[in-house]
Symmetry: C2
Subunit: 344 residues, 2 copies
């Protein structure tokens, strides 16, 4: 038995395939009674639309490309694990639509540019979701010039307006610094992502401004930049805790670097809450299991990821990008007092 097509239904009903096609897509050109007959026949024979036919005819792919920049296989560090949740959130948001998530794993920023160029010029997808945005992101420009629908996870700074979803890093860092300053901290370290990333700049900016408000001096030595692995968090602590005037607080950009910072504490014999504290941003709520649990700004990753999915759908339907922008403020979860007793 072959899979039924509109031809099958046409024979079944005595109508032409044109009428069947129109009836199934609710064209006003076909009479309600006729549609009813067609739908009934479709039901009866178990008809399912064959996407390959419509793809060839219409040129639409019904694919949303998710660009996932993950370190190469050599890399054995804990990095980018939040992608799993991100992808499933996107996938769920597309569930009711005919669109599917198509995965493009790339190893570097350059490769992501190339892949996006290919997707755009060869129309390998109808929309793109991309993360790891830079201050001036060439990929954003590329897609804008081609008028290709896309949503970024992360803001840009110098690009024209586009659809995006991001955590409100600005507000989060200002709040975080102010809160720590209130608790008596005068040396606050910022463990920041790679400097070329847009949110790295946003965080650094907010950090400097917040220090100023709190009347604290800015010391560039208290800011580290790097790929957000545990190794990086650890190194940051190892380096900074050797200063003659070491930090008493570390603001980590994610849970991986926070875990690494803990490892640095352990290596240096530092005790959390006595010598220094760690605060973090947390997507996966894992820092509640650290020993001791730490204070975090928690943004459950399913929120931005489902937003990404619904935004790309709306964008592909032609909605203007200005209407599709979200900054989400993570929720403060205080698991520690975060005061340190000044050494005598």
């Amino acid at each position: 038995m072959q899979r039924p097509t509109i031809k099958t239904i046409a024979q079944e009903t005595g109508l032409s395939i044109a009428t069947v096609s129109k009836a199934l897509k609710h064209s006003p050109q076909v009479r309600p009674e006729t549609r009813a007959i067609v739908v009934a026949a479709a039901e009866r024979v178990g008809y399912e639309l064959n996407m390959h036919g419509v793809q060839l005819r219409t040129g639409k792919t019904y694919q949303v490309a998710a660009i996932m920049t993950a370190p190469g296989p050599k890399q054995k560090e804990w990095e980018g694990v939040e992608y799993a949740q991100l992808l499933s959130g996107i996938s769920w948001a597309l569930e009711e639509s005919p669109y599917r998530v198509s995965l493009y794993a790339v190893r570097s920023f350059e490769e992501s540019v190339a892949v996006i160029r290919q997707i755009v010029s060869l129309k390998k997808a109808d929309g793109i979701i991309v993360s790891g945005t830079r201050a001036d992101d060439p990929r954003v420009r590329l897609m804008q010039e081609a008028d290709f629908p896309f949503v970024t996870y992360g803001t840009t700074i110098h690009n024209d307006p586009h659809a995006f979803v991001d955590a409100d890093n600005e507000q989060m860092i200002r709040h975080s610094v102010a809160r720590l300053a209130e608790r008596g901290h005068r040396r606050i370290a910022l463990v920041n992502p790679q400097p070329e990333l847009s949110y790295s700049i946003t965080r650094l900016d907010a950090y400097r401004r917040a220090l100023e408000v709190a009347g604290l001096p800015f010391d560039p030595a208290l800011v580290s930049h790097g790929r957000l692995t545990p190794a990086f968090g650890r190194e940051s602590v190892l380096a900074m805790s050797d200063f003659t005037d070491p930090p008493t607080a570390y603001i980590c950009a994610n849970e991986a670097s926070a875990l690494g910072a803990f490892s640095g504490f352990h290596a240096r014999g530092l005790v959390h809450g006595r010598d220094a504290v760690i605060n973090a941003t947390d997507d996966l709520n894992v820092s509640q299991y650290f020993a001791p649990p730490i204070t975090t700004y928690f943004l459950p990753i399913h929120e931005p990821s489902e937003l990404l999915g619904s935004y790309i759908l709306r964008r592909m339907e032609g909605e203007p990008p200005e209407a599709l922008q979200a900054l989400i403020m993570p929720k403060l979860i205080e698991r520690s007092d975060d005061r340190v007793t000044p050494k005598a």
Copy 2:
């Protein structure tokens, strides 16, 4: 300017589209010189194969469906994070092929059965990669009955032979128990995945056998089953450490539950290496950053994931499943002595 097709090349060269098509796919029916001409023309006009045409004509989708069972969005636990690396590994293995990874995120086992049934009957993909196998897995039977190419991440116990990739849980647990017994442990806990999963059974079996070899009694109270979240690892420790004769070693099934176990230690005031130790299986090499670092059986996840990718390719080319089976032995990384000083 329209995108060039084989028609363009045909006009360009004066050949027929049939010859062009054959030339481009290295058919022996076309003379090398003719092929050279075609290839040159294709190059010149910037021809790229349009997949929609071939999909419609051949019925092939050039999609590999990756079924990802992830907890629903409500779920705020650290779980399934290794999927990110798994997916990128698969994606990389398919890179040189025309196949793409298409993501199907599902929330439950039942949903995964339904999704697979749909993919198979509607030919929405050419191959399937599925994980979280059960002892007798209905999805495996489904795909086998339909003669649909697939590879599982994880073994089955009661199903007919099929392509799979897995860690060698049997050998790993036996080794782990023996090693701990050698070091004087007499109460060894097994923190195991959900009991219906195939590898849960394999691990439990190996555990019992290894205890027997070591001359230690089997105590069912020392085995816990659950979803491998930090919460579960924590609960396991909280419960078992209250026993009158508590375990001195915990064998955790992944890094998430190991982290949770640490959290349990902290809550109970247990010190790692003094009161008890934690061993784990680690995909992401994150346990080196625990404080203190623990002994793990490390299987870098890119190994099985790239194997999954190449296996599904070979399976789709018709290679028999018996040739596509791999059990990988994780590498022991001893980061701790793992002896505990018996209390006086």
